[in-house]
């Protein structure tokens, strides 16, 4: 997918991760394909938004990308070099990442003060005097620097989340992976953090992988967007193109189910939940993995797996009926 001749900053090639799951009592061990052949690339100074159903493998993909998990198959390349290359080279590449975890306790040590955790990436770089930088970073994420002396459990959910954002940004990393990094902040703070990320990107050329369930936030920060469903990429496009014309029926369902801050509109709205059971990644449906819940599905969809193809203007989609689908489902809902 990378542009001709140029090596992208980050390249993920056909990444797969399987977990072996044994259910209690049962003797069989089954394979759960959490991430099932994902490829993507990210340039310096670019933001790639990732959306998708809960449980579709976004956090697993994030952990594989930053090198917290070893892939079952596939590669993660930084400037063309594998992050799992043995020795210093691989270690050096894995250091280019910072990650903001979905659960803020993932990055904050419960026994250390918030200030100490935030300072850590700077110290790892050999910086001795971190106090000033910590204070500046906490202020930038809207936290009172006085909170630096507290332990994480003495902070509210959103305060912890901002502290982990501060920690991720403090040492000017090349790539920051955000896993639902702003979901538990009030909307004014969400906007403040998004603005901060845009500023840092402009000044330092930072790249972001931005995982979120909030389409508006993804739109506000991303250059490109990919949509995942059951471990696979089902749509990839420039952000602007995607907001105007989501093509995959799952993407259209996402857009139509997005709630608007308008009580009268929300009361009038019909049922927007998708029909059908959520399929299991241990036993994914045949053909198109979305066919069990798709309003457009035909027999073809149950039999033949749609490949990711260019539907024009570099807009990739994996659906047999994408072009027909986008318009039809949208007018059905009469949305946006």
């Amino acid at each position: 997918m990378a542009s001709e001749g140029k090596t992208p900053l980050l390249q993920v090639e056909n990444l797969k991760k399987q977990f072996h799951v044994r259910s209690r009592g049962a003797r069989d061990i089954r394979l759960l394909r959490a991430v099932d052949g994902v490829s993507l690339h990210l340039e310096a100074g670019e933001t790639l938004g990732i959306v998708g159903e809960s449980g579709c493998g976004k956090s697993t993909l994030a952990r594989l990308t930053v090198g917290l998990l070893q892939p079952s198959e596939g590669r993660v390349l930084i400037d063309g070099g594998d992050i799992w290359e043995p020795g210093a080279a691989g270690r050096e590449r894995r250091r280019k990442f910072q990650m903001v975890f979905q659960n803020p306790s993932g990055s904050m040590n419960p026994r250390r003060t918030v200030g100490a955790s935030v300072a850590e990436p700077l110290q790892a770089k050999g910086v001795r005097n971190t106090a000033e930088a910590v204070e500046r970073m906490l202020t930038l994420v809207g936290l009172d620097p006085a909170l630096a002396t507290r332990k994480p459990h003495q902070l509210s959910g959103g305060q912890q989340q901002r502290a982990s954002i501060a920690r991720a940004l403090i040492a000017d990393p090349a790539i920051v992976v955000h896993d639902e990094s702003i979901a538990s902040l009030d909307i004014s703070l969400q906007a403040q953090i998004l603005n901060l990320l845009l500023d840092l990107q402009e000044d330092l050329g930072t790249s972001y992988l931005f995982i979120s369930h909030d389409l508006a936030a993804v739109q506000a920060i991303s250059h490109r967007v990919i949509v995942m469903y059951l471990g696979e990429v089902v749509e990839a496009s420039a952000a602007e193109e995607f907001s105007g014309r989501p093509l995959h029926p799952y993407s259209v369902a996402l857009r139509n189910a997005t709630l608007l801050p308008d009580p009268a509109h929300e009361r009038a709205r019909g049922d927007t939940a998708l029909r059908g059971d959520v399929p299991s990644p241990m036993n994914p449906p045949s053909g198109c993995r979305f066919h069990t819940r798709c309003p457009l599905a035909t027999d073809l969809c149950a039999q033949q797996k749609p490949l990711l193809r260019d539907a024009g203007r570099g807009h990739l989609v994996a659906c047999h009926y994408a072009e027909a689908g986008a318009g039809e489902v949208a007018t059905q809902e009469g949305a946006l």
């Binding site: 449980g55 959103g158 639902e180 909307i187 603005n195 936030a217 009580p263 959520v278």
Partner: protein
């Protein structure tokens, strides 16, 4: 109103004594939630929403302490019950969905086992397993039978959140407190879960206290909304009134920060400044330093008073019938941080 509310909170005050001073996280908070009603609790991060919820169920951990007020559930003041009486009510009469699912789930036990524990004793029996699987299927869990046997660390963030929601609702409580229940869910699953909560309030008369930052969720779910800032409720209004005619400058600023999907990679306005240090609160209106409308009156602390039908605000200006001129707000928008 003829029937008394399910939940009636009066002057609730909760403090944390820390080595850096006393934080009054919840400061004289009062509100009601009626049978079948949904009250939204929104507001600044760190303003005391979760501590309010935890205080209602008396789950505030040390060094936190409820220092005053009343929390009446169907007329009984929960703050006067002994620990055992309180524990029983928590299981049966009030359900709680915690902001961080990991604090509510024990990593050492399977999800199904924990859900069984959550069922009140007299509800357990032959049909228990089926009931647990149905509750998991209701919240959109794939493969519920298998998932009941899995452990929290084997689940995605949103799957854990759905388990906690299912646990909170499984006894069909009279009061359900849900703290940011859908932050880890995609919008299609969110719709399913919210519909389920709506059905519980409608069919079972459950009173729902819903804490959320998502204004779309507020619009869909809430009958009334209370807005918190620095430990206090600063505005309370029916939901249409709050979105259409908010009477507190903080609420106005908050609503202006809603991102717009139709404007890619553009900055959204934010509230200038930051909230006060909760251990060193300024005299007067707590929003004063950030308020574009502030004047001399605001050096005194305003009460939460009626500014319209069923509409209260804690602002000198609107209490005196003055309007909040939106143009003043837009001039103040800082770009960048």
């Amino acid at each position: 109103m003829s029937t008394p509310p399910v939940l009636r909170v009066r002057d609730l005050t909760t403090r944390f004594h820390t080595s850096h001073g006393t934080v009054t996280a919840v400061n004289g908070v009062s509100f009601d939630v009626a049978r079948g009603e949904t009250l939204g609790l929104v507001g600044e991060s760190g303003s005391g929403k979760s501590v309010t919820a935890m205080s209602v169920l008396r789950l505030v951990a040390k060094p936190g302490r409820i220092v005053g007020g009343r929390v009446e559930l169907n007329g009984t003041d929960l703050l006067t019950l002994n620990e055992e009486e309180m524990r029983q009510r928590r299981g049966s009469e009030c359900g709680m969905v915690f902001q961080n699912p990991m604090t509510a789930l024990n990593p050492a036990f399977s999800v199904g086992w924990q859900m069984r524990e959550a069922l009140t004793a007299h509800e357990r029996g032959n049909g228990t397993a089926g009931r647990i699987h149905a509750a998991l299927a209701d919240v959109g869990m794939p493969d519920p039978e298998r998932q009941a046997a899995s452990f929290p660390h084997q689940m995605s963030g949103g799957m854990r959140q759905r388990v906690v929601i299912a646990m909170g609702m499984i006894n069909e409580p009279q009061l359900l407190i849900a703290d940011e229940p859908t932050t880890a869910l995609d919008v299609t699953i969110q719709a399913q879960v919210l519909d389920l909560m709506k059905n519980l309030t409608r069919d079972h008369g459950t009173a729902l206290l819903l804490i959320t930052h998502n204004m779309g969720v507020v619009a869909k779910m809430c009958d009334r909304v209370a807005v918190m800032y620095a430990g206090e409720i600063v505005e309370e209004a029916p939901v249409d009134e709050l979105f259409g005619n908010s009477r507190h400058p903080y609420t106005r600023g908050l609503l202006r920060s809603i991102p717009r999907a139709d404007r890619p990679r553009q900055k959204t306005p934010t509230l200038p400044g930051s909230p006060p240090d909760m251990s060193r609160l300024p005299a007067g209106c707590r929003f004063r330093d950030r308020c574009v409308f502030a004047d001399d009156r605001c050096e005194n602390h305003p009460d939460l008073l009626a500014v319209g039908a069923r509409h209260k605000a804690r602002c000198w200006k609107t209490q005196n019938g003055e309007t909040l001129d939106e143009t003043a707000l837009s001039q103040e928008v800082p770009h960048g941080v």
